[in-house]
């Protein structure tokens, strides 16, 4: 078993490296083809007009205008693989530092959303699946279908209006209070600022996991083994405890780990609406501002997250399901 485990790990590392290379080439190509002129975007038309030729040439060098793309890519790749992510052109700081801060903010939000949507979505899906066709199921399914056909940014704005503007119970943006020194920011402040974006992300995340859990639960409830459990006098609760939960948790966990990519994607939009200074927002500004080193790093980190989520999902499936776990041993 351990040798096959080693093989799996080795295979996945190779796959990961290939993925990083492919993603970096794709991101770089898109960036090169981007119609945005970095000087106009970052310095401004008016300022450029009043500059001398030398000044412009200096700026062009800074933003990498006119350099042959292949050479530029290789230079970046060489640095990157030796552990140097470069300096962000926009933030004028090391990319690794920028990312550490932004990722910290985003993780806070995404972990909250991921855990919340996972647990709530699972519970709602299980309840709906166990009570198929009844009122609880209709309400839950109705909610899920409505939410999954509503754009995330719209939900975000709705929440912002209700809780931030009308009720004034939660802040309307950013990750810390305005005008407070960094040392004065409490953990509670951070939580308060992350609530609305996290809730927005959760609301959209719930419907996916809930609908899938429901489908799976319905299949389980129609299975012969649940029929037999009924014939053995097991109550609905016993059926859930003995058979429903056991059979649905594996697929649900797998799905939730695979859904990391969706939460990641969703956070880009949501952070934008709430001006929440996370990785998503940094990605948008890096893209629009032609900040090549930053954008490349963010892209690769995102790819690693998605890859990691899927990898955990696959491994988890083998660990949870005895047919796979023990089957491996028998071979």
């Amino acid at each position: 078993m351990s040798s096959s485990m080693g093989k799996t790990i080795g295979k996945n590392i190779i796959r990961m490296i290939l993925l990083v290379i492919a993603v970096s080439i794709a991101a770089f190509t898109l960036m090169t083809l981007s119609p945005i002129d970095p000087l106009q975007a970052n310095v401004g038309q008016a300022a450029l007009g009043s500059m001398s030729q030398e000044q412009i040439a200096k700026l062009e060098e800074y933003w990498g205008v006119g350099q042959p793309p292949l050479q530029r890519y290789l230079a970046w790749a060489k640095d990157f693989f030796t552990g140097d992510m470069g300096v962000s052109l926009l933030y004028r700081q090391e990319v690794s530092k920028v990312i550490a801060v932004k990722l910290g903010n985003s993780m806070f939000l995404m972990v909250m959303a991921w855990v919340f949507s996972g647990i709530l979505g699972f519970v709602l899906g299980a309840v709906a699946g166990m009570h198929r066709g009844r009122a609880a199921d209709k309400i839950i399914r109705g909610y899920c279908l409505t939410v999954s056909s509503t754009p995330a940014f719209w939900i975000a704005m709705l929440l912002l209006i209700v809780f931030g503007v009308w009720l004034k119970v939660l802040p309307i943006g950013l990750s810390v209070p305005i005008g407070v020194e960094a040392s004065g920011v409490t953990f509670l402040d951070r939580v308060r600022h992350a609530i609305l974006p996290a809730v927005t992300l959760s609301i959209t995340g719930i419907s996916n996991i809930a609908l899938h859990t429901r489908e799976k639960m319905i299949d389980i409830m129609e299975s012969d083994y649940v029929l037999f459990a009924r014939a053995r006098g097991e109550s609905n609760w016993q059926i859930f405890k003995n058979h429903g939960f056991r059979n649905v948790i594996g697929p649900a966990m797998t799905l939730q780990f695979a859904a990391i990519s969706e939460i990641f994607g969703g956070s880009v939009l949501v952070e934008q609406v709430f001006s929440y200074p996370g990785l998503g927002q940094a990605a948008v500004s890096a893209g629009l501002g032609s900040d090549l080193p930053l954008l490349m790093a963010i892209t690769i980190i995102s790819a690693l997250f998605v890859f990691g989520g899927n990898l955990i999902a696959n491994i988890l499936y083998g660990v949870i399901d005895p047919r796979i776990r023990k089957g491996e041993k028998a071979v």
């Binding site: 012969d224 014939a231 053995r232 056991r246 047919r323």
Partner: protein
Amino acid sequence: MEKNTSPVLEIRHMNISFLQYEKGFRQVELPVISDLNLTIEEGEMVAVVGSSGSGKSLLAHGVMGILPYNASMGGEMIYRGQPLTRKRIQKLRGNEIVMVPQSTSYLDPLMKVGQQICKGSRDEEKKKKLNQIFHRFSLEEKVQQQYPFELSGGMTRRIMISTALIENPRLVIADEPTPGLHLKMAKRAMEHFRQLADMGAGVLVITHDLELALETADKVVVFYAGHTIEEANASDFKEVSLLRHPYTRALWKAIPQNGFESIPGIQPYVKEMPKGCPFAPRCEKRTAECEGEIPYRKVRDGYVRCLYDA
């Protein structure tokens, strides 16, 4: 048999049909069991034999109250003198009334079999009883920690039988409990059921294996295309002339020692059910009257659904 108590289970004129949608939205009713009659006394072991698709499993599911949602059931079921209503079966099943299911799919693939037999309970008494059952079935104790996919067909069969033996049932309905078991193990399983009957329970064993049934059962009920066509004492099978229905006699002749003869034709499908006697198309003795109503009548301490007595 002396009758000082009411039967464990009495089924009168049971019928089961399915509502099905055919070609678009036309709803058709498919009658799969018609006028089924059956009585199980205390201490009695009744075998139900019949070919595939004759409705044996549906009978079991009908009694246990687990028919699919598109099925409807009519007739009467009396359990120990009282009608077996939906509410009553829901209360009794799993302890007083137990079923042994027909196939592996009735076991939860992700639950260890020991836990599964005990329905997840950690009761010490139950565990002791489980160990005894495993011992009698020559199953190692470590099998309790295994999952259904790790077991052989014969082991699975014994696990499914154990789900019934772990309770203290007064009515056992075993749906084909022996296929896949070696003859010795199959006989041992039947002996278990015999024991339960001797201790006062009523046992209904559904089986394909007429020979095995005859060794242990008291009575044999023969199914054909959703009808009960004969109820005979096991001893009637010693002499073919004591049997009452042409189909039962055909079954008798199909037993290896009795000639291994099979009759031509197949059981009619529900949608092409002939009027009157379902066996008529294959019967040598059929007459025009066989297309009419055939009563289930008492003949020589048994029952038969045939106009012509042997």
